[in-house]
């Protein structure tokens, strides 16, 4: 709190300030002394975004702080997450998982690129999105065309694809959920499971 003042004072008072600092160098007085000891508040101008905690279904409201002001040349980087005080359920609180979402976003095990492991290979290889998605579509189509069951033994139209299944996430948005539903069910997959059961 005094640092700013003493800096300006130094400029203005010149010699007097010099004398003071000599005094303090000799151990008299508290010149350098009352320098700010409080860490500056790091969120002053960070961008605040309202989000939801990704973990349990209390669905606590969160405030996500990111670097920059969303201007074109500043890449938003999430720097801190805390509870949304307005949210009626959590009222700003968070549990040890919610309070550490930052380490989820920045996890050392974060998957950042599409990866491909060929049959029998010893490791993953980085691939492009185009390669990965084309490959997925191709594998799906090959198997579906081969194993699609249009009618069961009783001659009933069943139109199902029995040799594929999907485990789906309960941490996707409802919007992603509907799209996931449409895409998977549209192929005739019956084996759709999600975390609700387990």
């Amino acid at each position: 709190m005094q640092l700013e003042v003493s800096r300006r004072g130094f400029m203005r008072l010149g010699g007097a300030a010099l004398a003071t600092s000599t005094m303090s160098a000799l151990g008299f007085g508290a010149g350098e002394a009352l320098a700010a000891s409080v860490r500056p508040f790091k969120l002053s101008r960070a961008t605040e975004t309202r989000s939801t905690c990704p973990y349990c279904s209390v669905s606590c409201g969160t405030l996500v702080y990111s670097l920059g002001d969303a201007s074109k040349n500043a890449r938003a980087e999430i720097m801190h997450i805390e509870g949304d005080p307005d949210h009626p359920v959590n009222r700003g609180t968070l549990c040890p998982r919610g309070a550490a979402i930052l380490d989820f976003v920045r996890s050392a095990q974060r998957l950042k690129h599409p990866m491909h492991r060929a049959p029998g290979a010893k490791e993953f290889k980085r691939v492009s999105w185009d390669f990965a998605l084309d490959r997925v579509a191709k594998l799906m189509k090959e198997d579906r065309d081969k194993n699609f069951v249009a009618k069961n033994n009783d001659g009933v139209t069943v139109n199902r694809w029995p040799t594929a299944a999907a485990f789906t996430t309960s941490t996707q948005s409802n919007e992603a959920g509907l799209v996931t539903y449409k895409v998977l069910r549209g192929t005739g997959i019956v084996g759709i499971e999600n975390q609700a059961r387990i």
Binding site: A25, L26, G27, F28
Partner: protein
Amino acid sequence: MERRNGGTVGRYTTGARINHWITAGSLVLMALSGLALFHPSLFFLTHLFGGGQSTRIIHPWIGVVLFFGFAGLFIRFWAYNLWNRDDTQWMKQSGDVINAREEKLPEIGRYNAGQKLVFWAMTLLIAVLFLSGIVLWDTYFHAYFTIGQKRLAAVVHAFAAVITILVWIVHVYAAIWVKGTVRAMTRGSVTGGWAWRHHRKWLREVVQKR
């Protein structure tokens, strides 16, 4: 060449002098760095050592030098510092000592009782400082002692240090007050007159041995 001064008498070997000055230097540095951390008004002394952190780092290492330096002095001189009847008598006449009425004092050997007291006080104090210093030397020993032991060590260390400084003042003042003393540690020899006046018995012994 020089005025008649009773000739010179060798008092300290080169090795002893080097040993002494290493010890003396480290003691002075110990006092300066220790005082810097002892009282806020002397904290400025840390600047002599490159700041607070480096003072904190250097102080115990100088202490190690001091300890071994003094250990050397101890080995050299302990035998000369054994107490005898003359010392008791000397102590009884401390008034004559202060008033420089040496003629009234018994003849003194290599060291007088005051010097012996300084010697033994330093021996004890430096041992105490060293041991309590180890307890406080968290960088290496923080895990070996309890906080209670460290608190006790801190008090003991501080007390011992203050007494050490007082003893040191006596030691230095005596050297300044008693003219001709300093050269014993700078040149290794004293004048015969000095020896006659202050350590007559020693002078006689030295002469006899020749």
